[in-house]
Protein backbone atom coordinates (compact mmCIF):
# COMPACT_ATOMS: atom_id res chain seq x y z
CA UNK A 1 0.00 0.00 0.00
CA UNK A 2 1.26 3.47 -0.65
CA UNK A 3 1.91 5.08 2.67
CA UNK A 4 0.03 8.14 3.82
CA UNK A 5 2.19 10.64 1.93
CA UNK A 6 2.08 8.56 -1.24
CA UNK A 7 -1.67 8.59 -0.95
CA UNK A 8 -1.80 12.35 -0.62
CA UNK A 9 0.44 12.75 -3.66
CA UNK A 10 -1.89 10.51 -5.66
CA UNK A 11 -4.87 12.55 -4.55
CA UNK A 12 -3.14 15.75 -5.62
CA UNK A 13 -2.47 14.30 -9.05
CA UNK A 14 -6.12 13.43 -9.49
CA UNK A 15 -7.08 16.95 -8.59
CA UNK A 16 -10.77 17.65 -8.48
CA UNK A 17 -11.80 14.09 -9.11
CA UNK A 18 -10.59 12.97 -5.71
CA UNK A 19 -13.00 13.97 -2.97
CA UNK A 20 -11.39 12.41 0.04
CA UNK A 21 -8.54 10.16 1.09
CA UNK A 22 -8.67 7.61 3.87
CA UNK A 23 -5.64 5.81 5.29
CA UNK A 24 -6.94 3.06 7.55
CA UNK A 25 -5.05 0.06 8.94
CA UNK A 26 -2.24 0.79 6.48
CA UNK A 27 -4.52 0.62 3.47
CA UNK A 28 -5.07 3.53 1.15
CA UNK A 29 -8.46 4.57 -0.13
CA UNK A 30 -9.48 7.31 -2.51
CA UNK A 31 -13.05 8.51 -2.61
CA UNK A 32 -13.72 9.98 -6.02
CA UNK A 33 -16.36 11.78 -7.99
CA UNK A 34 -18.59 9.20 -9.76
CA UNK A 35 -18.63 11.12 -13.01
CA UNK A 36 -14.89 10.81 -13.50
CA UNK A 37 -14.26 7.23 -12.49
CA UNK A 38 -12.93 6.20 -15.87
CA UNK A 39 -10.33 8.93 -16.03
CA UNK A 40 -9.35 8.27 -12.42
CA UNK A 41 -8.71 4.62 -13.15
CA UNK A 42 -6.75 5.49 -16.30
CA UNK A 43 -4.56 7.87 -14.33
CA UNK A 44 -3.95 5.22 -11.72
CA UNK A 45 -3.07 2.81 -14.47
CA UNK A 46 -0.36 5.14 -15.71
CA UNK A 47 0.94 5.26 -12.15
CA UNK A 48 1.42 1.49 -12.24
CA UNK A 49 -1.84 0.10 -10.83
CA UNK A 50 -2.57 -2.01 -13.88
CA UNK A 51 -4.60 -4.85 -12.38
CA UNK A 52 -8.23 -4.40 -11.40
CA UNK A 53 -8.74 -7.04 -8.77
CA UNK A 54 -12.35 -6.47 -7.81
CA UNK A 55 -15.41 -4.34 -8.48
CA UNK A 56 -18.10 -4.66 -5.88
CA UNK A 57 -20.90 -2.69 -4.34
CA UNK A 58 -21.80 -1.49 -0.87
CA UNK A 59 -25.06 -0.14 0.43
CA UNK A 60 -24.69 2.72 2.89
CA UNK A 61 -28.36 2.75 3.83
CA UNK A 62 -29.71 4.94 5.40
CA UNK A 63 -27.11 7.59 4.56
CA UNK A 64 -27.38 9.24 1.18
CA UNK A 65 -25.79 8.97 -1.35
CA UNK A 66 -26.57 5.41 -0.69
CA UNK A 67 -25.06 3.07 -3.26
CA UNK A 68 -21.33 2.70 -3.33
CA UNK A 69 -19.07 0.98 -5.80
CA UNK A 70 -15.58 -0.08 -4.73
CA UNK A 71 -12.71 -0.72 -7.16
CA UNK A 72 -9.64 -2.56 -5.91
CA UNK A 73 -6.46 -1.88 -7.88
CA UNK A 74 -3.20 -3.73 -7.62
CA UNK A 75 0.28 -2.84 -8.79
CA UNK A 76 2.01 -6.15 -9.33
CA UNK A 77 5.53 -4.84 -9.75
CA UNK A 78 5.59 -2.95 -6.48
CA UNK A 79 2.96 -5.09 -4.71
CA UNK A 80 0.86 -2.05 -3.95
CA UNK A 81 -2.89 -1.89 -3.55
CA UNK A 82 -5.17 1.09 -3.66
CA UNK A 83 -8.93 1.23 -3.27
CA UNK A 84 -11.14 3.63 -5.19
CA UNK A 85 -14.62 4.27 -3.91
CA UNK A 86 -17.53 6.25 -5.20
CA UNK A 87 -21.08 6.82 -4.02
CA UNK A 88 -24.21 7.42 -6.04
CA UNK A 89 -27.72 8.20 -4.80
CA UNK A 90 -30.38 5.59 -5.30
CA UNK A 91 -32.57 7.85 -7.41
CA UNK A 92 -29.81 8.44 -9.96
CA UNK A 93 -27.59 5.35 -9.71
CA UNK A 94 -25.67 5.88 -12.94
CA UNK A 95 -21.98 5.22 -13.16
CA UNK A 96 -19.87 5.04 -16.27
CA UNK A 97 -18.78 1.50 -17.00
CA UNK A 98 -15.05 0.82 -17.09
CA UNK A 99 -15.40 -2.43 -19.03
CA UNK A 100 -13.90 -0.96 -22.17
CA UNK A 101 -10.59 -0.27 -20.43
CA UNK A 102 -10.69 -3.13 -17.95
CA UNK A 103 -12.38 -6.24 -19.44
CA UNK A 104 -12.40 -7.89 -16.04
CA UNK A 105 -15.16 -5.57 -14.90
CA UNK A 106 -17.70 -7.20 -17.23
CA UNK A 107 -19.30 -9.80 -14.97
CA UNK A 108 -18.46 -7.89 -11.84
CA UNK A 109 -20.39 -4.80 -12.90
CA UNK A 110 -23.30 -7.02 -13.87
CA UNK A 111 -23.25 -8.42 -10.37
CA UNK A 112 -23.28 -4.94 -8.83
CA UNK A 113 -26.23 -4.08 -11.09
CA UNK A 114 -28.06 -7.26 -10.12
CA UNK A 115 -27.48 -6.95 -6.40
CA UNK A 116 -27.68 -3.18 -5.90
CA UNK A 117 -29.28 -1.61 -8.94
CA UNK A 118 -26.35 0.55 -9.99
CA UNK A 119 -26.70 1.20 -13.71
CA UNK A 120 -23.42 1.14 -15.61
CA UNK A 121 -23.63 3.23 -18.74
CA UNK A 122 -21.71 1.88 -21.65
CA UNK A 123 -21.65 -1.68 -20.39
CA UNK A 124 -21.91 -4.08 -23.35
CA UNK A 125 -24.51 -6.36 -21.79
CA UNK A 126 -26.07 -5.16 -18.56
CA UNK A 127 -28.39 -7.95 -17.43
CA UNK A 128 -28.98 -9.81 -14.25
CA UNK A 129 -26.32 -12.36 -13.67
CA UNK A 130 -27.07 -14.20 -10.42
CA UNK A 131 -30.82 -13.83 -9.99
CA UNK A 132 -33.35 -15.06 -12.57
CA UNK A 133 -33.75 -12.68 -15.48
CA UNK A 134 -37.23 -11.60 -14.49
CA UNK A 135 -36.52 -11.07 -10.79
CA UNK A 136 -37.73 -7.84 -9.27
CA UNK A 137 -35.75 -6.06 -6.66
CA UNK A 138 -32.12 -5.76 -5.80
CA UNK A 139 -31.36 -8.31 -3.09
CA UNK A 140 -28.20 -6.96 -1.54
CA UNK A 141 -29.72 -3.59 -0.63
CA UNK A 142 -30.04 -3.18 3.09
CA UNK A 143 -33.78 -2.63 3.01
CA UNK A 144 -34.44 -5.81 1.01
CA UNK A 145 -35.69 -8.49 3.42
CA UNK A 146 -33.57 -11.59 3.94
CA UNK A 147 -36.57 -13.79 3.19
CA UNK A 148 -36.67 -17.48 3.77
CA UNK A 149 -39.03 -20.10 5.05
CA UNK A 150 -40.55 -19.84 8.52
CA UNK A 151 -39.09 -22.34 10.90
CA UNK A 152 -41.84 -24.17 12.71
CA UNK A 153 -41.07 -24.93 16.33
CA UNK A 154 -43.47 -26.34 18.89
CA UNK A 155 -44.04 -22.89 20.32
CA UNK A 156 -45.28 -21.35 17.10
CA UNK A 157 -46.60 -24.36 15.24
CA UNK A 158 -50.24 -23.57 16.06
CA UNK A 159 -49.92 -20.17 14.40
CA UNK A 160 -48.45 -21.57 11.19
CA UNK A 161 -50.78 -24.51 10.95
CA UNK A 162 -53.86 -22.34 11.25
CA UNK A 163 -52.44 -19.88 8.74
CA UNK A 164 -52.29 -22.76 6.27
CA UNK A 165 -56.01 -23.51 6.63
Amino acid sequence: MPDATGLELLAQELGEASLETVYFRERATLIVDPARIRSVLSTLRTKGYAFLASVHGVDHYPEEPRLGVVYELLDMSRVDRVTVKLRVPSDAPNVESVTADWPTADHQEREVYDMFGVIFEGHPDLRRILMPEDYEGHPQRRDFPVGGEPVIFTRNEAKWLEARE
Partner: protein, 425 residues
Protein backbone atom coordinates in the same frame (compact mmCIF):
# COMPACT_ATOMS: atom_id res chain seq x y z
CA UNK B 1 -63.68 -45.85 -45.96
CA UNK B 2 -64.37 -48.34 -48.74
CA UNK B 3 -62.15 -51.42 -48.79
CA UNK B 4 -60.85 -50.65 -52.28
CA UNK B 5 -58.94 -47.49 -51.27
CA UNK B 6 -55.64 -47.92 -49.44
CA UNK B 7 -56.04 -46.66 -45.92
CA UNK B 8 -53.48 -43.92 -45.29
CA UNK B 9 -53.55 -43.17 -41.62
CA UNK B 10 -53.61 -39.66 -40.29
CA UNK B 11 -50.10 -40.11 -38.97
CA UNK B 12 -48.58 -40.91 -42.33
CA UNK B 13 -50.34 -37.98 -43.94
CA UNK B 14 -48.93 -35.63 -41.34
CA UNK B 15 -45.49 -37.11 -41.73
CA UNK B 16 -45.41 -36.38 -45.43
CA UNK B 17 -46.22 -32.76 -44.84
CA UNK B 18 -43.18 -32.15 -42.63
CA UNK B 19 -40.29 -30.36 -44.20
CA UNK B 20 -37.19 -29.03 -42.58
CA UNK B 21 -37.12 -25.85 -44.61
CA UNK B 22 -37.93 -23.46 -41.71
CA UNK B 23 -34.89 -24.78 -39.90
CA UNK B 24 -32.47 -24.25 -42.71
CA UNK B 25 -30.53 -21.07 -42.45
CA UNK B 26 -28.97 -19.24 -45.34
CA UNK B 27 -25.52 -20.48 -46.11
CA UNK B 28 -22.79 -17.91 -45.62
CA UNK B 29 -20.83 -17.38 -48.80
CA UNK B 30 -17.18 -18.32 -48.30
CA UNK B 31 -14.76 -15.44 -48.63
CA UNK B 32 -11.72 -15.74 -50.78
CA UNK B 33 -8.97 -17.22 -48.66
CA UNK B 34 -11.03 -16.82 -45.54
CA UNK B 35 -12.20 -19.55 -43.17
CA UNK B 36 -14.60 -22.10 -44.53
CA UNK B 37 -17.95 -20.57 -43.62
CA UNK B 38 -20.15 -22.89 -45.60
CA UNK B 39 -21.62 -24.14 -42.35
CA UNK B 40 -24.16 -22.07 -40.50
CA UNK B 41 -23.85 -21.02 -36.89
CA UNK B 42 -25.59 -23.14 -34.28
CA UNK B 43 -26.09 -22.12 -30.70
CA UNK B 44 -25.97 -25.10 -28.42
CA UNK B 45 -27.03 -25.06 -24.83
CA UNK B 46 -24.70 -26.88 -22.46
CA UNK B 47 -27.39 -26.90 -19.86
CA UNK B 48 -26.98 -26.48 -16.17
CA UNK B 49 -27.30 -30.23 -15.84
CA UNK B 50 -24.42 -31.67 -17.78
CA UNK B 51 -21.91 -34.35 -16.85
CA UNK B 52 -18.92 -32.35 -18.04
CA UNK B 53 -19.57 -28.90 -16.64
CA UNK B 54 -18.24 -28.79 -13.14
CA UNK B 55 -21.39 -27.99 -11.28
CA UNK B 56 -24.42 -26.14 -12.55
CA UNK B 57 -22.79 -23.98 -15.18
CA UNK B 58 -24.77 -23.16 -18.27
CA UNK B 59 -22.85 -22.35 -21.44
CA UNK B 60 -24.45 -21.03 -24.59
CA UNK B 61 -21.95 -22.16 -27.16
CA UNK B 62 -22.15 -20.82 -30.70
CA UNK B 63 -20.68 -23.38 -33.02
CA UNK B 64 -19.68 -23.39 -36.61
CA UNK B 65 -19.53 -27.06 -37.37
CA UNK B 66 -17.33 -28.33 -34.53
CA UNK B 67 -15.50 -25.07 -33.99
CA UNK B 68 -16.49 -22.86 -31.11
CA UNK B 69 -17.08 -19.28 -32.15
CA UNK B 70 -18.47 -17.78 -28.97
CA UNK B 71 -19.28 -18.87 -25.44
CA UNK B 72 -21.69 -17.09 -23.16
CA UNK B 73 -21.76 -18.47 -19.63
CA UNK B 74 -25.04 -18.16 -17.74
CA UNK B 75 -24.61 -18.49 -14.01
CA UNK B 76 -26.72 -18.05 -10.93
CA UNK B 77 -28.07 -21.58 -10.66
CA UNK B 78 -26.63 -22.12 -7.22
CA UNK B 79 -26.89 -18.55 -5.95
CA UNK B 80 -27.37 -18.87 -2.22
CA UNK B 81 -27.44 -15.30 -1.02
CA UNK B 82 -24.42 -15.93 1.20
CA UNK B 83 -23.48 -12.27 1.38
CA UNK B 84 -26.98 -11.26 2.38
CA UNK B 85 -27.22 -13.98 5.03
CA UNK B 86 -23.85 -12.92 6.42
CA UNK B 87 -25.13 -9.41 7.12
CA UNK B 88 -27.70 -10.87 9.45
CA UNK B 89 -25.38 -12.76 11.75
CA UNK B 90 -22.78 -11.96 14.36
CA UNK B 91 -19.17 -11.92 13.19
CA UNK B 92 -18.22 -15.39 14.31
CA UNK B 93 -21.47 -16.85 13.04
CA UNK B 94 -20.56 -15.61 9.59
CA UNK B 95 -17.63 -18.04 9.45
CA UNK B 96 -19.72 -21.17 8.68
CA UNK B 97 -21.80 -19.19 6.18
CA UNK B 98 -18.80 -17.92 4.29
CA UNK B 99 -17.05 -21.32 4.37
CA UNK B 100 -19.75 -22.77 2.18
CA UNK B 101 -19.07 -20.38 -0.65
CA UNK B 102 -16.20 -21.98 -2.55
CA UNK B 103 -17.05 -25.42 -1.31
CA UNK B 104 -13.77 -27.11 -2.19
CA UNK B 105 -11.51 -24.67 -0.45
CA UNK B 106 -13.44 -24.01 2.70
CA UNK B 107 -10.47 -23.14 4.86
CA UNK B 108 -9.48 -20.43 2.39
CA UNK B 109 -12.86 -18.75 2.60
CA UNK B 110 -12.65 -18.74 6.36
CA UNK B 111 -9.06 -17.47 6.24
CA UNK B 112 -9.91 -14.54 4.00
CA UNK B 113 -12.81 -13.54 6.20
CA UNK B 114 -11.02 -14.03 9.51
CA UNK B 115 -8.00 -12.13 8.20
CA UNK B 116 -10.21 -9.20 7.26
CA UNK B 117 -11.91 -9.12 10.65
CA UNK B 118 -8.58 -9.47 12.45
CA UNK B 119 -7.24 -6.50 10.51
CA UNK B 120 -10.24 -4.45 11.51
CA UNK B 121 -9.87 -5.48 15.13
CA UNK B 122 -6.08 -5.11 15.00
CA UNK B 123 -5.89 -8.53 16.63
CA UNK B 124 -2.69 -10.54 16.61
CA UNK B 125 -2.78 -14.21 15.72
CA UNK B 126 -0.18 -16.13 17.74
CA UNK B 127 2.59 -17.98 15.89
CA UNK B 128 1.25 -21.42 16.66
CA UNK B 129 -2.15 -20.41 15.36
CA UNK B 130 -0.57 -19.12 12.16
CA UNK B 131 1.39 -22.30 11.59
CA UNK B 132 -1.67 -24.46 12.23
CA UNK B 133 -3.58 -22.30 9.78
CA UNK B 134 -0.87 -22.81 7.16
CA UNK B 135 -0.93 -26.58 7.67
CA UNK B 136 -4.68 -26.75 7.17
CA UNK B 137 -4.64 -24.32 4.26
CA UNK B 138 -2.04 -26.32 2.39
CA UNK B 139 -3.83 -29.59 3.13
CA UNK B 140 -6.97 -28.01 1.71
CA UNK B 141 -5.03 -26.89 -1.35
CA UNK B 142 -3.91 -30.47 -1.99
CA UNK B 143 -7.47 -31.73 -1.44
CA UNK B 144 -8.86 -29.17 -3.87
CA UNK B 145 -6.28 -30.03 -6.52
CA UNK B 146 -7.07 -33.72 -6.08
CA UNK B 147 -10.75 -33.20 -6.83
CA UNK B 148 -9.81 -30.98 -9.77
CA UNK B 149 -7.50 -33.69 -11.09
CA UNK B 150 -10.09 -36.41 -10.56
CA UNK B 151 -12.98 -34.63 -12.23
CA UNK B 152 -10.84 -33.30 -15.07
CA UNK B 153 -9.49 -36.74 -15.79
CA UNK B 154 -13.09 -37.97 -15.72
CA UNK B 155 -13.98 -35.40 -18.36
CA UNK B 156 -11.05 -36.45 -20.49
CA UNK B 157 -12.03 -40.08 -20.14
CA UNK B 158 -9.55 -41.38 -17.58
CA UNK B 159 -11.99 -42.73 -15.04
CA UNK B 160 -9.62 -44.50 -12.68
CA UNK B 161 -7.72 -41.33 -11.73
CA UNK B 162 -10.93 -40.10 -10.10
CA UNK B 163 -10.92 -43.04 -7.71
CA UNK B 164 -7.20 -42.70 -6.96
CA UNK B 165 -7.62 -39.03 -6.11
CA UNK B 166 -10.55 -39.77 -3.86
CA UNK B 167 -8.42 -42.33 -2.05
CA UNK B 168 -5.88 -39.62 -1.19
CA UNK B 169 -8.55 -37.13 -0.35
CA UNK B 170 -9.99 -39.53 2.20
CA UNK B 171 -6.66 -39.40 4.03
CA UNK B 172 -6.77 -35.61 4.09
CA UNK B 173 -10.36 -35.54 5.27
CA UNK B 174 -9.40 -37.97 8.03
CA UNK B 175 -6.82 -35.44 9.17
CA UNK B 176 -9.42 -32.67 9.13
CA UNK B 177 -11.76 -34.86 11.11
CA UNK B 178 -9.03 -35.43 13.63
CA UNK B 179 -8.30 -31.78 14.19
CA UNK B 180 -11.81 -30.35 14.13
CA UNK B 181 -14.39 -33.12 14.13
CA UNK B 182 -15.85 -32.57 10.67
CA UNK B 183 -14.64 -33.51 7.21
CA UNK B 184 -15.83 -30.45 5.33
CA UNK B 185 -16.83 -26.97 6.44
CA UNK B 186 -15.15 -27.43 9.76
CA UNK B 187 -15.34 -23.97 11.39
CA UNK B 188 -11.76 -24.62 12.44
CA UNK B 189 -10.56 -21.09 11.70
CA UNK B 190 -11.90 -18.51 14.09
CA UNK B 191 -11.21 -14.82 14.41
CA UNK B 192 -7.89 -14.68 16.23
CA UNK B 193 -6.54 -18.13 15.44
CA UNK B 194 -7.92 -21.63 15.32
CA UNK B 195 -10.63 -23.03 17.51
CA UNK B 196 -8.65 -25.89 19.03
CA UNK B 197 -5.16 -27.19 19.19
CA UNK B 198 -4.32 -30.31 17.20
CA UNK B 199 -4.83 -33.55 19.14
CA UNK B 200 -2.21 -36.14 19.92
CA UNK B 201 -1.60 -38.44 17.01
CA UNK B 202 -2.33 -35.73 14.45
CA UNK B 203 1.34 -35.16 13.84
CA UNK B 204 2.04 -38.86 13.36
CA UNK B 205 -0.82 -39.27 10.93
CA UNK B 206 0.18 -36.12 9.10
CA UNK B 207 3.73 -37.33 8.64
CA UNK B 208 2.48 -40.65 7.30
CA UNK B 209 0.38 -38.77 4.81
CA UNK B 210 3.28 -36.54 3.81
CA UNK B 211 5.39 -39.59 3.13
CA UNK B 212 2.73 -41.13 0.95
CA UNK B 213 1.50 -38.11 -0.99
CA UNK B 214 4.49 -37.38 -3.24
CA UNK B 215 4.63 -41.02 -4.33
CA UNK B 216 0.97 -40.95 -5.21
CA UNK B 217 1.38 -37.69 -7.09
CA UNK B 218 4.19 -39.39 -9.01
CA UNK B 219 1.70 -42.13 -9.88
CA UNK B 220 -0.80 -39.65 -11.30
CA UNK B 221 1.93 -37.98 -13.29
CA UNK B 222 3.12 -41.31 -14.62
CA UNK B 223 -0.37 -42.38 -15.67
CA UNK B 224 -1.41 -39.14 -17.29
CA UNK B 225 1.85 -37.90 -18.77
CA UNK B 226 2.41 -41.05 -20.76
CA UNK B 227 -1.16 -41.29 -21.98
CA UNK B 228 -1.27 -40.24 -25.62
CA UNK B 229 -4.92 -39.23 -25.49
CA UNK B 230 -4.43 -36.91 -22.54
CA UNK B 231 -1.37 -35.33 -24.10
CA UNK B 232 -3.10 -34.80 -27.44
CA UNK B 233 -6.09 -33.22 -25.79
CA UNK B 234 -4.10 -30.94 -23.51
CA UNK B 235 -0.93 -30.03 -25.42
CA UNK B 236 -1.28 -26.92 -27.50
CA UNK B 237 -5.00 -26.48 -26.95
CA UNK B 238 -6.56 -23.15 -26.02
CA UNK B 239 -3.51 -21.13 -25.06
CA UNK B 240 -3.93 -17.61 -23.78
CA UNK B 241 -1.13 -15.17 -23.12
CA UNK B 242 -0.48 -13.51 -19.80
CA UNK B 243 -1.35 -9.99 -21.04
CA UNK B 244 -4.92 -10.94 -21.90
CA UNK B 245 -5.26 -12.89 -18.69
CA UNK B 246 -4.17 -9.89 -16.65
CA UNK B 247 -6.59 -7.61 -18.40
CA UNK B 248 -9.33 -10.15 -17.64
CA UNK B 249 -8.38 -10.19 -13.98
CA UNK B 250 -7.29 -13.82 -13.94
CA UNK B 251 -4.93 -14.95 -11.20
CA UNK B 252 -3.77 -18.22 -9.75
CA UNK B 253 -2.60 -21.33 -11.61
CA UNK B 254 -4.07 -20.03 -14.88
CA UNK B 255 -1.84 -16.96 -14.78
CA UNK B 256 1.14 -18.95 -13.59
CA UNK B 257 0.67 -21.37 -16.47
CA UNK B 258 0.99 -18.46 -18.88
CA UNK B 259 4.36 -17.51 -17.41
CA UNK B 260 3.58 -14.82 -14.84
CA UNK B 261 4.82 -16.02 -11.43
CA UNK B 262 2.29 -14.02 -9.38
CA UNK B 263 1.51 -15.76 -6.11
CA UNK B 264 0.25 -13.89 -3.07
CA UNK B 265 1.98 -16.32 -0.75
CA UNK B 266 5.32 -14.99 -1.99
CA UNK B 267 4.38 -11.47 -3.06
CA UNK B 268 2.46 -10.36 0.00
CA UNK B 269 2.96 -13.09 2.61
CA UNK B 270 0.26 -13.48 5.23
CA UNK B 271 0.03 -15.86 8.18
CA UNK B 272 3.80 -16.50 8.30
CA UNK B 273 4.12 -17.89 4.77
CA UNK B 274 7.46 -16.09 4.56
CA UNK B 275 8.90 -18.55 7.08
CA UNK B 276 8.67 -21.35 4.58
CA UNK B 277 10.83 -22.19 1.63
CA UNK B 278 8.89 -23.30 -1.43
CA UNK B 279 8.90 -22.72 -5.17
CA UNK B 280 6.21 -21.45 -7.49
CA UNK B 281 5.60 -23.70 -10.50
CA UNK B 282 5.33 -21.60 -13.64
CA UNK B 283 4.37 -22.69 -17.14
CA UNK B 284 5.67 -21.44 -20.45
CA UNK B 285 3.03 -21.60 -23.15
CA UNK B 286 -0.22 -21.15 -21.25
CA UNK B 287 -2.08 -24.00 -22.90
CA UNK B 288 -4.14 -26.63 -21.13
CA UNK B 289 -1.15 -28.86 -20.53
CA UNK B 290 0.67 -26.11 -18.67
CA UNK B 291 -2.36 -25.47 -16.49
CA UNK B 292 -2.48 -29.15 -15.67
CA UNK B 293 1.25 -29.38 -14.98
CA UNK B 294 1.29 -26.29 -12.78
CA UNK B 295 -1.44 -27.61 -10.53
CA UNK B 296 0.15 -31.03 -10.31
CA UNK B 297 3.47 -29.45 -9.33
CA UNK B 298 1.76 -27.31 -6.70
CA UNK B 299 0.81 -30.47 -4.85
CA UNK B 300 4.50 -31.25 -4.27
CA UNK B 301 5.17 -27.70 -3.12
CA UNK B 302 2.28 -27.83 -0.67
CA UNK B 303 3.67 -31.04 0.80
CA UNK B 304 6.98 -29.25 1.32
CA UNK B 305 5.28 -26.35 3.09
CA UNK B 306 3.35 -28.65 5.41
CA UNK B 307 6.52 -30.55 6.31
CA UNK B 308 8.32 -27.37 7.20
CA UNK B 309 5.34 -26.14 9.18
CA UNK B 310 4.94 -29.29 11.26
CA UNK B 311 8.69 -29.51 11.84
CA UNK B 312 8.86 -25.95 13.06
CA UNK B 313 5.52 -25.79 14.89
CA UNK B 314 6.09 -23.35 17.75
CA UNK B 315 4.67 -23.73 21.22
CA UNK B 316 2.17 -21.28 22.50
CA UNK B 317 -1.50 -20.47 22.34
CA UNK B 318 -3.46 -21.40 19.27
CA UNK B 319 -5.79 -18.42 19.43
CA UNK B 320 -5.40 -14.85 20.54
CA UNK B 321 -5.37 -14.28 24.27
CA UNK B 322 -7.68 -11.30 23.97
CA UNK B 323 -10.81 -12.50 25.71
CA UNK B 324 -12.91 -9.86 24.09
CA UNK B 325 -12.50 -11.65 20.77
CA UNK B 326 -11.84 -15.29 21.47
CA UNK B 327 -13.70 -17.62 23.79
CA UNK B 328 -11.83 -18.42 27.01
CA UNK B 329 -10.82 -22.05 27.51
CA UNK B 330 -13.53 -24.04 29.20
CA UNK B 331 -11.61 -24.88 32.34
CA UNK B 332 -11.37 -21.21 33.20
CA UNK B 333 -15.12 -20.83 33.27
CA UNK B 334 -15.33 -22.67 36.56
CA UNK B 335 -12.85 -20.44 38.37
CA UNK B 336 -12.81 -16.98 36.84
CA UNK B 337 -15.75 -14.57 36.86
CA UNK B 338 -14.38 -12.46 34.03
CA UNK B 339 -14.02 -15.52 31.85
CA UNK B 340 -17.67 -16.32 32.43
CA UNK B 341 -18.75 -12.82 31.54
CA UNK B 342 -16.59 -12.77 28.43
CA UNK B 343 -17.97 -16.12 27.37
CA UNK B 344 -21.51 -14.91 27.87
CA UNK B 345 -20.99 -11.67 25.96
CA UNK B 346 -19.25 -13.41 23.09
CA UNK B 347 -21.84 -16.11 22.69
CA UNK B 348 -24.94 -13.97 23.00
CA UNK B 349 -24.00 -10.74 21.32
CA UNK B 350 -20.58 -11.30 19.83
CA UNK B 351 -17.69 -8.90 19.72
CA UNK B 352 -18.05 -5.43 18.31
CA UNK B 353 -15.74 -4.37 15.54
CA UNK B 354 -14.66 -0.75 15.07
CA UNK B 355 -16.13 0.85 11.93
CA UNK B 356 -14.12 0.61 8.75
CA UNK B 357 -13.76 -1.27 5.49
CA UNK B 358 -11.10 -3.83 4.72
CA UNK B 359 -10.23 -5.86 1.63
CA UNK B 360 -8.16 -8.90 2.53
CA UNK B 361 -6.71 -10.98 -0.34
CA UNK B 362 -5.18 -14.47 -0.03
CA UNK B 363 -4.03 -17.09 -2.50
CA UNK B 364 -6.61 -19.83 -2.91
CA UNK B 365 -6.17 -22.88 -5.16
CA UNK B 366 -7.96 -20.97 -7.91
CA UNK B 367 -6.42 -17.54 -7.62
CA UNK B 368 -6.87 -14.40 -5.59
CA UNK B 369 -9.60 -14.93 -3.05
CA UNK B 370 -10.40 -11.80 -1.11
CA UNK B 371 -12.90 -10.81 1.48
CA UNK B 372 -14.27 -7.30 1.78
CA UNK B 373 -15.76 -6.59 5.20
CA UNK B 374 -17.47 -3.33 6.03
CA UNK B 375 -18.20 -2.76 9.67
CA UNK B 376 -20.42 -0.08 11.11
CA UNK B 377 -19.39 -0.55 14.71
CA UNK B 378 -22.03 -3.07 15.72
CA UNK B 379 -21.71 -6.78 16.31
CA UNK B 380 -22.91 -7.73 12.83
CA UNK B 381 -21.05 -6.93 9.63
CA UNK B 382 -22.63 -4.35 7.36
CA UNK B 383 -21.30 -5.92 4.18
CA UNK B 384 -19.35 -9.08 3.49
CA UNK B 385 -18.26 -9.56 -0.10
CA UNK B 386 -16.07 -12.40 -1.28
CA UNK B 387 -14.08 -11.69 -4.38
CA UNK B 388 -14.11 -15.16 -5.79
CA UNK B 389 -11.38 -16.17 -8.26
CA UNK B 390 -13.59 -18.52 -10.29
CA UNK B 391 -16.10 -15.74 -10.92
CA UNK B 392 -13.45 -13.60 -12.54
CA UNK B 393 -11.60 -16.48 -14.22
CA UNK B 394 -14.80 -17.57 -15.96
CA UNK B 395 -14.65 -14.47 -18.14
CA UNK B 396 -11.50 -15.86 -19.72
CA UNK B 397 -13.29 -18.95 -20.99
CA UNK B 398 -14.64 -17.39 -24.18
CA UNK B 399 -11.22 -15.94 -24.99
CA UNK B 400 -9.52 -19.26 -24.37
CA UNK B 401 -11.86 -21.51 -26.28
CA UNK B 402 -12.43 -19.35 -29.31
CA UNK B 403 -11.58 -21.18 -32.49
CA UNK B 404 -11.15 -24.52 -30.76
CA UNK B 405 -13.14 -27.72 -31.11
CA UNK B 406 -15.87 -28.65 -28.67
CA UNK B 407 -13.72 -31.34 -27.14
CA UNK B 408 -11.02 -28.76 -26.48
CA UNK B 409 -13.60 -26.52 -24.91
CA UNK B 410 -14.55 -29.30 -22.52
CA UNK B 411 -10.91 -29.78 -21.62
CA UNK B 412 -10.55 -26.02 -21.11
CA UNK B 413 -13.52 -25.85 -18.77
CA UNK B 414 -11.92 -28.68 -16.82
CA UNK B 415 -8.54 -26.94 -16.66
CA UNK B 416 -10.17 -23.65 -15.68
CA UNK B 417 -11.29 -25.32 -12.45
CA UNK B 418 -14.50 -23.36 -11.88
CA UNK B 419 -16.30 -23.90 -8.62
CA UNK B 420 -19.88 -22.80 -9.03
CA UNK B 421 -20.42 -22.21 -5.34
CA UNK B 422 -17.83 -19.47 -5.50
CA UNK B 423 -19.06 -18.11 -8.80
CA UNK B 424 -22.65 -17.82 -7.68
CA UNK B 425 -22.21 -17.26 -3.97
Amino acid sequence: MSPSEPTISEYRRREQSITLSPLEQPVIEPEEGGPDTTQELLTLNFGPHHPATHGVLRLLVTLQGEIVRDIKPVIGYVHTGIEKTAEDKAYWKVIPIVERMDYLSYYFNAMAYCGAVETLLEAEVPERGQYLRVIHLELNRIASHLIWLGTSALDLGAVSIFLYCLRERELILDLFEMSSGARMHTRYFQVGGVIEDIPQGFERKLREFLKVMPERADEYGAILNSNQIVLERLRGTCPLDAETLLSLGVTGPLLRAAGNPWDLRKAAPYSSYDDFDFKIPVGTVGDNYDRFAVRLAEIYESVKIIEQAIDGLPEGPHITEDRKIALPPRHELATSMEALIHHFKLVTEGFRVPPGEIYNPIESPRGELACFVRSDGSSKPARVHMRDPSFVNLQALSHMAEGAYIADMIATVAMLDPILGGIDR
